[in-house]
């Protein structure tokens, strides 16, 4: 990102010195490249594979278009049961994540207190845990003999939604918190001084200002909930199915591409409708905000403030009940030796290949592979995602261009809304010598970080965009009026502000790559398996030692993720002076 960004700026800057016509040409070229490269990337590694696989579903045995599957699938009542399940699950998961995420965002991003960085890290951990491990952890809590067995939620919709909220509350906290912590508090203070109640001031001043970030977060969470796979399989029970799990079954088990294609289109329709709704909500509310340095916007936590106390209580409840309890169960179980006594035997076993050689590599080797893969994936995601965010943050005057940008915005979110199975299987029929290159990309090790980057890009965009968009355009106009070339405006106005969200975006991208399982599990990995793949494999083998190792490895993965997120946090507060 840094290299690509500064290179673009240099182009534009030299243009400025060389005269107006060339400046315009260079500017147009710079923007064209910024638009073309992400489109090329997403085209080759997302749109093409998905389209190709879906097209096979609509191709008859003798060739030619065969649409017989459409009527058959759409008239099947089972299909509509799947759609209903998917919608209920996604709406409930998103609603609960937003409602629970807001008080936590306030506490962690508007107030200062000892241990805040650690708490921010903790809240993010669930997001990147392997779904398999989370499924098993929640199931252990909810079964009849578990701590929460009295709820009777085993294999029910509430269990699935609870796990989805566990995963996604951090998306809301971080996306909303990122904007909230730089929102000028003085407007709300003025409202209070004029006699508004705290609730009224929040509802009429702060909430509208936060709406773009809330809509962004809700869109991402909705996509995650609508396409959730691992937790649904483990926690929903055998009778509970969604469009996503059915696409998986039809594709991987039955190779019934005809039904899968129709279901994929249905899923796409749901996702696109959600994106349009979210885009509307953002567009209605989006405007330039007075962004301020953290030092001004935050205050020391105080027991005298009702909002501080209430959000602290809510955060304690959410962090303690929803996040810490399953994690505590995981950690305590990982400290149980295979013979039932307490100790570190499971952790010592991480240097081995497991009971009966369950693994090809040791867990530490898998960890190294995970870090390598995640580093490459993060670089790709930041480069492509940063370019997209920059393009989307512009507000061109022409209506047609604005429309095109809106469409672009929706398109880059699609990777979150399309089944990993469709992308993964699509890779296999499209990436043999793509674009005339003489390599079989399907089995090249690079495909794993690329697939992870495709999943991470929407998150990078959504993390950076609210901050970039909230930059007052008058700042740019003022700089331009004073004679700054477009490149210089970018470098001195956009860049310092973007940098702050870049750290966070990098943390997210890295964490997502570390925990990614769906696509990674499908793709060829000639070198070494990643940590989530190894954990899944250990869970799939008999022997208490292997299960113990899987839990210890999950704890290591969780700790690593928390550390990465805290580093990203620190990077941000150092770089973000403006």
């Amino acid at each position: 990102m840094v290299a690509a960004g500064s290179r673009r700026c240099d182009f534009a800057q030299s243009d400025a010195r060389a005269g107006h016509s060339r400046r315009v040409a260079g500017n147009v070229f710079g923007w064209s490249l910024t638009i073309a490269l992400p489109l090329l990337f997403l085209g080759v590694f997302f749109a093409w594979p998905v389209t190709a696989l879906t097209a096979r579903g609509f191709t008859g045995v003798e060739g030619g278009i065969d649409l017989s599957g459409v009527a058959e699938v759409l008239t099947n009542p089972r299909t509509w049961r799947l759609v209903r399940n998917t919608l209920v699950q996604a709406v409930a998961g998103t609603g609960a994540s937003v409602v629970l995420g807001l008080p936590v965002a306030y506490l962690l991003y508007r107030t200062r207190f000892r241990g805040r960085a650690a708490l921010r890290g903790l809240v993010t951990v669930p997001f990147v845990l392997p779904t398999v491990v989370v499924g098993v952890a929640f199931q252990a809590l909810l079964r009849p003999d578990g701590w929460f067995g009295f709820l009777g939620w085993q294999e029910t919709l509430p269990a699935v939604i609870l796990a989805l909220v566990f995963f996604n509350v951090s998306v809301v906290v971080r996306t909303v918190g990122g904007l909230w912590e730089r929102l000028d508090p003085r407007v709300e203070q003025a409202a209070r001084a004029l006699g508004a109640s705290p609730w009224r001031a929040f509802r009429t001043i702060t909430l509208p200002a936060l709406t773009p970030a809330i809509a962004s977060a809700a869109a991402v969470v909705f996509l995650f909930c609508a396409t959730a796979f691992g937790v649904v399989l483990v926690l929903g029970g055998a009778g509970y199915n969604t469009v996503e799990t059915e696409i998986f079954r039809r594709t991987t088990q039955f190779l019934d591409l005809r039904t899968a294609a129709v279901l994929s289109i249905l899923q796409l329709a749901v996702v696109v409708a959600a994106l349009i709704a979210s885009g509307r909500a953002r567009a209605n509310r989006e405007r330039a905000l007075h962004l301020q340095h953290e030092g001004i916007t935050t205050h020391s936590w105080s027991y005298r403030s009702g909002a501080d106390v209430a959000t602290a209580a809510a955060t304690l409840l959410i962090a303690g009940g929803l996040i810490l309890t399953p994690l505590a169960g995981l950690v305590s179980r990982s400290l149980r030796n295979p013979d039932g006594s307490w100790g570190l035997q499971n952790y010592r076993a991480l240097g081995t290949t497991g009971q009966g050689n369950a693994l090809v590599v040791t867990v530490w080797q898998a960890l190294a592979a995970s870090l390598r893969t995640a580093a490459i994936a993060t670089m790709i995601a930041l480069t492509i995602g940063g370019m997209i965010a920059l393009v989307l943050s512009r507000r061109p005057r022409r209506r047609a261009v604005r429309r095109a940008l809106g469409l672009f915005d929706a398109v880059v979110m699609l990777p979150l809304g399309v089944s990993a199975v469709t992308v993964g299987f699509g890779f296999f029929i499209t990436l043999n010598r793509p674009l005339g290159l003489n390599i079989d990309l399907r089995t090249a090790g690079l495909l794993v970080p690329i697939a992870q980057a495709v999943v991470a890009i929407p998150l990078v965009v959504r993390t950076m965009l609210p901050v970039l968009r909230a930059i007052d355009p008058r700042l740019r106009e003022a700089a331009a009026t004073l004679g700054a070339a477009p490149g210089r405006v970018l470098r001195t106005v956009d860049w310092p502000l973007a940098l702050r969200s870049l750290g966070l975006a990098a943390g997210f991208a890295f964490a997502v790559s570390l925990g990614e399982f769906g696509a990674t599990a499908f793709l060829a990995r000639p070198d070494s398996a990643t940590l989530p793949v190894v954990i899944f494999r250990l869970i799939g083998r008999p022997g208490a030692e292997n299960y113990g190792m899987a839990l210890a490895a999950s704890v290591v993965l969780a700790a690593l993720t928390a550390t990465v997120m805290m580093l990203a946090e620190r990077l941000r507060s150092q770089a973000g002076e403006f």
Partner: protein, 352 residues
């Protein structure tokens, strides 16, 4: 002119970026004559020294690519049959074999060193060569029944009796490969007409409070009392070799046992892909997979039985996890013709 030069420069940068992205994978992707590419399911494992010995002896380097579970592996082979991902596939089992064979994804080759016990399992004149076998059977937590002072079921048909209500866990055949295997065994065991045969069994089992899990691991870990993870049900679908992994502390006895009266024999095959780039290497690799060295390595690495019955087994296996004498299951052709339909029917009976 300058503008055009600049545009050209930009285009070169774009191409260079794409190429550098591509070149990262290049070194791994290029297949020269000395490399043979092996596609497997995720459970593939081999001792390092055994594989190294093959590479040293044959002069071929093995490049290994895991491709998901058995069903995913098979379907990917079928999807990519016009441009195969490698030379040899290992891990297609007898519940999916016909799909790969019917698609024409494999070419025939019978290794000269194939053991006598393996020849009977060869499919389509050598398109698929058997490598491993394992029996999917009901497992009983005998310790649980002793502790609760209750009689154990003695055969699969007992599971629908009221005294065993709410004690059984089975696996969804739509998502689990041992689940499909056990389901196929019941189809053969209870037979047609379905209404009084296999369907009757599953309806009765459903009425008797059976629990359905999506995968073997989820079931064995969280539902089965015998795994020591706090599960509550003492009857589960697993493998005949599983009791060898639930030994008492002194290793002299096991706390679970398999019901051997209705097992399905899962056979895993290897084959050479149509359009393989390195046929010579592929043939050498197939010969290696059926050789006594590799066959003896299988139990300790992949937890299934070698296809070659002359190979010596680990002592615990012979003692606590023997294969069944008689196994059940429809023919491969029957499976291919009816698999999806059977699974849909099963879903309606048990889940919907």
């Amino acid at each position: 002119m300058q503008t055009r030069l600049r545009a050209l420069g930009g285009a070169i940068i774009a191409i260079a970026l794409t190429a550098s992205l591509a070149s990262c994978g290049d070194e791994e992707a290029s297949g020269h004559d000395g490399t043979v590419t092996l596609l497997t399911h995720n459970s593939w494992a081999v001792s390092e020294e055994v594989l190294a010995a093959f590479e040293a002896e044959s002069g071929f380097t093995v490049r290994h690519i895991p491709l998901g579970n058995a069903a995913e592996l098979t379907n990917q082979i079928v999807l990519t049959k016009d441009a195969p991902l490698g030379d040899v596939v290992f891990g297609i089992d007898n519940t999916f074999a016909s799909r790969a064979l019917d698609a024409g994804a494999l070419q025939t080759f019978i290794p000269t060193n194939l053991s006598a016990s393996a020849t009977g399992y060869v499919l389509d004149e050598g398109a698929l060569i058997p490598v491993t076998r394992g029996d999917v059977c009901i497992n009983i937590d005998t310790a649980w029944f002793a502790e609760h002072d209750r009689a154990e079921p003695q055969r699969i048909a007992d599971l629908i009796r009221p005294e065993f209500a709410d004690l059984t866990v089975v696996l969804n055949p739509a998502t689990s490969s041992p689940g499909l295997a056990f389901f196929l065994a019941t189809i053969d065991l209870f037979g047609e007409p379905a209404e009084s045969g296999w369907m009757h069994f599953w309806i009765a089992l459903g009425d008797n409070g059976v629990r359905v899990a999506e995968s073997w691991s989820a079931a064995y870990r969280t539902e089965f009392s015998g795994s020591g993870e706090g599960g509550t049900r003492p009857i589960i679908v697993s493998y005949s070799s599983s009791p060898a992994f639930t030994l008492t502390d002194d290793g002299q006895a096991t706390t679970t046992r398999a019901l051997l009266d209705g097992c399905f024999r899962q056979v895993e095959y290897a084959g050479i892909l149509t359009g393989a780039g390195n046929v010579e290497g592929a043939q050498a690799l197939i010969e290696f997979l059926v050789s006594p060295t590799f066959q003896a390595d299988i139990p300790g690495q992949m937890w299934v039985y070698p296809i070659d019955d002359a190979v010596e087994l680990p002592a615990d296996w012979a003692r606590f996890g023997p294969l069944a004498d008689t196994v059940y299951g429809p023919s491969a052709a029957d499976i291919e013709a009816n698999r999806d339909n059977w699974i849909d029917q099963w879903t309606q009976i048990v889940l919907d």
